[in-house]
Symmetry: C2
């Protein structure tokens, strides 16, 4: 999570400092109780700078959402290893890591909280449509590469990617909104799924 730590530990400019303050204020108060005032309380410079850059909470949060989705996407392993099965697990294990490190938990919680706005606000829905598509396509690319090199059977790439992404999104959502840690059981069944439904030459 280097790109995430980077803007949290050493923001590079005023915009990243505002993003950092937004992140901490959102994690503490949640979207509904978030105000520019509360973001200003964890912003090291003058609060007027925030108003200078953003017209209000919604404009700021939409930019924050684009910013964190970019960070999330940069951090999804993009397959620097050759082996397709290892690439798929690098991707899935990044998201299903147990225990979820505290920083990642807060980050995931912020994404779940902002995603909820997409139920009734099309600006948020547009961002999550793009993000969900990115995530499915990233998985699909790994599966397609595995079919090409003979690791995986000739499966329906898009359907498999959609299914795996749904299991991961459901796991991420539940693990930051309920007390039971379900990731190990999900990972266990995903491993069986990869073995029985994806691997060639069974």
């Amino acid at each position: 999570m280097s790109a995430v730590s980077s803007f949290l530990d050493s923001p590079e400019d005023t915009r990243e400092e505002i993003m950092r303050a937004t992140y901490f204020a959102l994690s503490e108060h949640g979207y509904a109780d978030l105000t520019i005032q509360r973001i200003g309380a964890v912003f090291p410079k003058s609060k007027s700078l925030i108003y200078h850059h953003y017209d209000g909470k919604d404009e700021l949060l939409l930019e924050f959402l684009a910013f964190v989705l970019d960070r999330f996407e940069e951090n999804v392993p993009d397959g620097e290893v050759d082996d397709a099965e290892a690439r798929l697990w690098a991707l899935l294990d990044h998201l299903l890591a147990t225990p979820l490190p505290d920083g990642r938990r807060a980050f995931t919680g912020a994404m779940v909280d902002l995603r909820a706005q997409a139920t009734h606000d099309e600006r948020y829905r547009e961002q999550f449509t793009r993000h969900d598509r990115f995530f499915r396509e990233r998985i699909a690319a790994v599966v397609a590469a595995g079919i090409d090199d003979g690791t995986f059977a000739d499966v329906d790439v898009d359907a498999v990617a959609t299914f795996l992404a749904a299991a991961v999104v459901g796991t991420m959502t539940q693990r930051v909104t309920s007390e039971v840690e379900i990731a190990p059981a999900v990972r266990d069944r995903l491993e069986e799924y990869v073995q029985t439904a994806l691997l060639a030459d069974q």
Copy 2:
């Protein structure tokens, strides 16, 4: 969704009328912009009645959450058919129905919106912990019955239920927060999963 339609179409008492108004106001405005004022605007009786029953928005929404989770749970098919595979599909198809009927979409959106509060409010997290457990146990009961009657192989019941529940929660969450309808692809891969990983005598 008879229990849902029932409180929406013909609320039985003042409490159900308040739940109905809360449902419509939440679907329209979202949790963050919801106020007792806005609930009062779609409540057919005097708004003072709402204040008489509830101290504020949070107390009302927590009761609303318990109320809708009860309705959701009552509506999950509980297996009136004998065949374990048919029971499992009745349950999964209820949740993955495509297209999602408008009323169910709004209902699912309200649940996703309230679930987001669980990222930073333990009162909501407590309710979703209970709800997620209920849902896993309902699936586990169907799978266990299928093992008992020889339909399903001797799988790890809890892990399978957790995996299926994660895929369903991920699908429900994405389908009300992004524009792409992923349910048919997920259902297709779930069907393959049931055939290859669950059914006995392959």
